[in-house]
Amino acid sequence: MIAARGLQKRFGSKVAVEEVSFRAPDGCVTALLGPNGAGKTTSLRILYGLLRPDAGEAVVDGALGVLPDSPGLYARLTAREHLRYAARLQGLSAKEADGRAGALIERLGMREIADRPAAGFSQGERRKVALGRALIHDPRNVVLDEPTNGLDVPATRAMRRQVRELAEAGKCVLFSTHILQEVAAVCDRVVVLARGRVVAEGTPDELLQRTGRTNLEDAFVELIGTEEGLGS
């Protein structure tokens, strides 16, 4: 379970997050939907401890795996070495690290790139390694910042499938997106963010009811107040 309570964060005079509270329960995918600049990345960074909020608090019960905004791979290390490094940093023994790395290479379909240096990886391959790194210690909670950003169709579909599988395995999955379609395809719950505030929270059906629309896209646009910064 991940919960945000009254988060607030400003950079200088610019308010990035004004009032963000929501709850992401176990066993389901919660989407943090909002246009670019709505405060998604900042909210997530507070949740995974990179930033300190000016007010409010973030609660995560249990281990947390994080797929940040940028995959950030080392060009001269292989996929397997990335996973092993992450495992060792999480405190796993060398043997456990090898085992976990091997298992994730199979599960995420990275066998072909497992022992190649990351310099030549495609966007999708990079994202796979980064996801593997996030899941290396088998965390109960997983936060993904725009995990499908910049991926082609097959890679996007694979990523969405992985996200679903995590929730079906009982984990709490929170991911941010500015793509309307993605919400309908993957998530159980939606937190709609606009200008640093949560403007709606609930299941897609609840949001349709609340806005009186029949189409999820229309409902989001109405909640956010503009189409700008959204993608479909």
Binding site: L64, D69, Y74, Y85, Q90
Partner: protein
Amino acid sequence: MKALVVFAKEALDAARDRRSLGSALIYSLFGPLVLAMALGAVARDRSEDGPLRLAIAGAERAPSLVRWLEQNGVEVVPSGGPVALSIPEGYAEDFRASRPAKVELIYDASRSDSRGPVQRAETLLERYGAQVTGLRLSARGISPRVAQPVKLALIDRSTAASRAALTLGMLPIFLLMAAFISAMNIAIDTTAGERERGSLEPLLVHAVSRTDLVAGKWMAAALFNALGMGLTLLVSFLVLRWDRLEELDVPVALSPGDALRLFVLLLPLTLFAPALQMLISLFARSFKEAQTYLSLLIFLPVIPDFLFSFQRIDTEPWMRAVPVLAEQVLAGDLLRGQANGPLVHLLAAGATLLATVTCLAVTARMLGHERIVLGR
């Protein structure tokens, strides 16, 4: 200890970075190469003590002068050489009439190899003139001594050995510079580079302390730095053992024991430099910016030497407790054969290690600052 995990990864990553390793290698060979060339020049000077080779234009106008020059160790050559003598028309006439007879010494002052020969030619011509003066005065019944109120004797005490020692004085500079060059790229890559490629954020979300991260990264950089400095020292040592130097009797000795002492003396500095470089890189906005700062930092060890060479500053006790300066002064002492007590060495090493730990502590703290982590 997670610092060791970070160290292993950074060392592996750095070992695979062929381009950085290659440039560090070239740098570490650069110093010894300059040293070899300088010592080669000393050796050549030494071997140039043969006859003065002089081309003479209009030799037929001054047969007695030419003969005298030949008798005094000048080899008359048809052309070439760094200096030439020209005897203009009218020399013989003036000479006979006891008027100052003009001769011209032609040389190119911008050629560094012309200085010695010109000086030698000048001295010879002056001696010839003095001899003729003596003869003329004697012919008029005056003692030649009257015309020589002061007798000047120049005694050049510089020997090949002292010139070689001066050259050897460059060695500490090259070693100190190697300590600021060898791990420069690793220091940048693990800090500013880590942030620029976006791998700092994923790194910080792992359950690992910032102290462990900084310690591991620094250990990797320090290892490569010590190797780089050691390589520079090793190659310099081999250059100084060059057979030709001994053949030409240019006595520059760096005993294996002294080389080892030099390495131990400079070791704290090889630990300090990457700590300082990592701290500075973290403040830089990009990899390139960090590179600019650290390239300037390379000249840090040169500054004291530069000042010393302009102004004779005696080394003061406090200088042996200032990082970088202390290593330089102590390395100079060691090469000149002046022994310093163990306490002096401990003080210098202690000061440098304290500075190292301070840099590392500040770097670890900085990694907790949002502005530094996000690079804003």
